[in-house]
Symmetry: C2
Subunit: 401 residues, 2 copies
């Protein structure tokens, strides 16, 4: 049978066709009125997507570049910072803050788990200068309770800036950035925004801007103050990734269209979409006798599923690719071989989701996990049908007199 290559990885995610076309067409020079218009509009739409009154900036870098910017701009050598880590991306905060010579306190929980309110409070102190955390830990498929974390930080470490890596959190998680007092929150282009890697973006609070004035760590390309100044003129501080900006513009236009004319409503639709894909996938996996990796705090961005006992998850990843053309992610770091990850963030729909679930049935059947064919599909279909009914009931009903 033919196999179409389809990405089910939690980044990069499937590309939005209209963004691909915009990218291919983007031959403009970046120091022109034409580009400034595109850039200013894209920044404004992105700000609505992010959902904040803070400044929103774009960097030509991967998400890690924005992570580095959030360390380099906000800290000085010796600053006491707290890193919350529950997986490979938490460990990146640890490594980054150490690289910038912070005095790093780490609150670490096992892969697949999240932080208890009590454990966080215990680590918080008035001396902390910064707290670094993920919204969702994509290496394990766990979601952290950002609201609780943020409220604790604001209460017990009032001088700390709170920095959130929402690379897979944006477009999958409901966030109240301003209400919770998040100082920097950052994302990447190749996730819910449905375009290729190469752009990072961040929202920066007034408290963060103030901190930058005293922060002593070195930065140049990632100096956010330069970007803020340039953005005010509809420009970027350094050469922007023009084609990716054009793609981002098209993606945000699509999100606006999905939202009936409002980017923020489109974002909510996108979150609801990922939630439904995730719920279908979790239900199917469990019906097939598989165990979720992060059952108590499952992320919406992706579902991490444990390989059955005695099976290397690489076998499952390989079968998805070779038999169905579907690229799913293996575990990362110490989780390699133990779990596989199916993404829901961005441009996925019913056919994608039921398709990957049905393919999973063939793979588990061949691994000897005997379930009647259709068991996983049915579980996913029941979730979809229940949600469709609920959505139908939520619609305003026109009554006739």
């Amino acid at each position: 049978m033919l196999r179409k290559e389809r990405l089910f990885t939690p980044g990069p995610t499937p590309l939005l066709p209209s963004a691909q076309f915009a990218m291919a067409a983007a031959g403009m020079h970046h120091r022109t009125a034409e580009f400034r218009k595109l850039y200013a509009q894209t920044l404004a739409d992105l700000k609505e997507f992010v959902g904040t009154s803070n400044d929103v900036l774009i960097l030509a870098s991967s998400g890690t570049g924005a992570m580095e910017a959030s360390v380099a701009n906000l800290t000085s050598p010796g600053d006491k910072v707290l890193v919350l880590t529950a997986g490979k991306f938490g460990e990146r905060w640890r490594d980054l803050t150490r690289a910038y010579n912070c005095s790093v306190e780490v609150l670490s929980v096992a892969y697949g788990e999240t932080f208890s309110g009590a454990a966080i409070r215990e680590k918080l102190s008035p001396e902390l200068r910064a707290v670094y955390v993920q919204a969702t830990e994509s290496s394990t498929g766990a979601r952290h309770n950002l609201e609780t974390i943020a409220r604790s930080v604001r209460q017990h470490s009032p001088d700390a800036v709170l920095v959130v890596d929402a690379i897979t959190g944006f477009g999958t998680t409901r966030l109240d950035i301003d209400g919770w007092g998040i100082d920097i929150i950052l994302g990447g282009s190749q996730k819910a925004l449905m375009i290729p890697p190469g752009l990072a973006y961040l929202a920066v609070s007034e408290r963060a801007w103030q901190r930058m004035e005293s922060a002593k760590n070195p930065r140049y390309y990632f100096d956010l103050r330069k970007e803020r100044k340039a953005a005010a003129k509809g420009e970027s501080a350094f050469t922007p990734a023009v084609a990716l900006i054009a793609a981002l513009g098209a993606s945000l236009q699509y999100i606006r269209q999905v939202g009936g004319g409002e980017v923020s409503r489109g974002r909510e639709q996108l979150i609801g979409n990922a939630e439904l894909c995730a719920a279908m996938t979790r239900s199917a996996a469990q019906a097939l006798g598989l165990k979720l990796f992060a059952p108590t705090c499952p992320a919406t961005a992706l579902t991490a599923i444990q390989a059955p006992t005695g099976v290397d998850s690489g076998t499952i990843v390989k079968a998805f690719r070779e038999r169905f053309g579907a690229v799913v992610a293996n575990g990362q770091g110490e989780m390699k071989g133990k779990l596989f990850r199916i993404a829901h963030l961005g441009y996925y729909d019913y056919l994608d989701t039921i398709g990957i679930v049905a393919a999973l049935e063939h793979i588990t059947a061949e691994l000897g996990l005997t379930r009647a064919f259709g068991t996983g599909a049915r579980a996913a279909q029941e979730v979809f049908a229940a949600e469709s009914n609920a959505a139908h009931q939520r619609q305003p009903v026109t009554t006739s007199v």
Copy 2:
């Protein structure tokens, strides 16, 4: 939930990405060495795809253009011709041959059926100058037995040229064009070849070339002798549809790749792929309690499914589109409202097929056809699993001594 627009119509079919890129890049002039090289290679590959030693030509037209060419080039006013019709496309042969003032004999069977050998023989006579038929009648999802038809024609009407519309037959049906003595067989680009509409192609036998010398009907743009002369120099008689030729070249390259380096083997893979998609879909539809429209002679190109009693098939078509983004075809002509058609020809894979089947389950459930969710998916999965096992057993086994 997001809805990706996906074509499940028996033409146009989903576009092959590499063909889309080739099409977008095709800015060349057509009277250049560069284009001649592309055109000659594409004609050679197309000939291998068609599977014939006859001349293969390309026209810048829809498939109907090649149908018209097959009438205008081969007939004279008053010629006695036989048209075999079992649906809307058979009727097109009737209308075309009448438009060219042939004396048209029609063998007509009900929509969804095919011709018996006896009925065909009864219509054949030594005076017939031409016979026109479809390989598959895409308006009803029926496949005709071309081998039987061709052998009868050759035996009972030795002077007749046999013309086959294989617009949805190419890449879905095994054909022995030279062995059966088919004089013109024609296809269109937007079907199994996975590119947009705009090109037609035909294979022309020696008997057909001879007939053209005496045929009196008028033709200019569609004069196949002009195309033959131009093709010998790697050119087209009139301005070619350059971007579509580039797309066709890329599509044939993909088919060669699927065939492990041979276009003809790639075509067989494509046929096997459509057969499996069709078998999965038929099995699922029947498991859901639906009736096939052409149960005795189902085509591989598409499956025509009857709307349940009391349901207009337009409702089902609309639900596929509005709820799942899937474009399936309604019945055509007198079949409108009575059936819907799901395509298998061209660029479809497992995820597409199981997806459309699962979507159909939601639609039939809401129409009150109560089956447990997963019933259709399971039926399709069982077909796929059985075929996968069979394919596995067909593979050469390495034995150790």
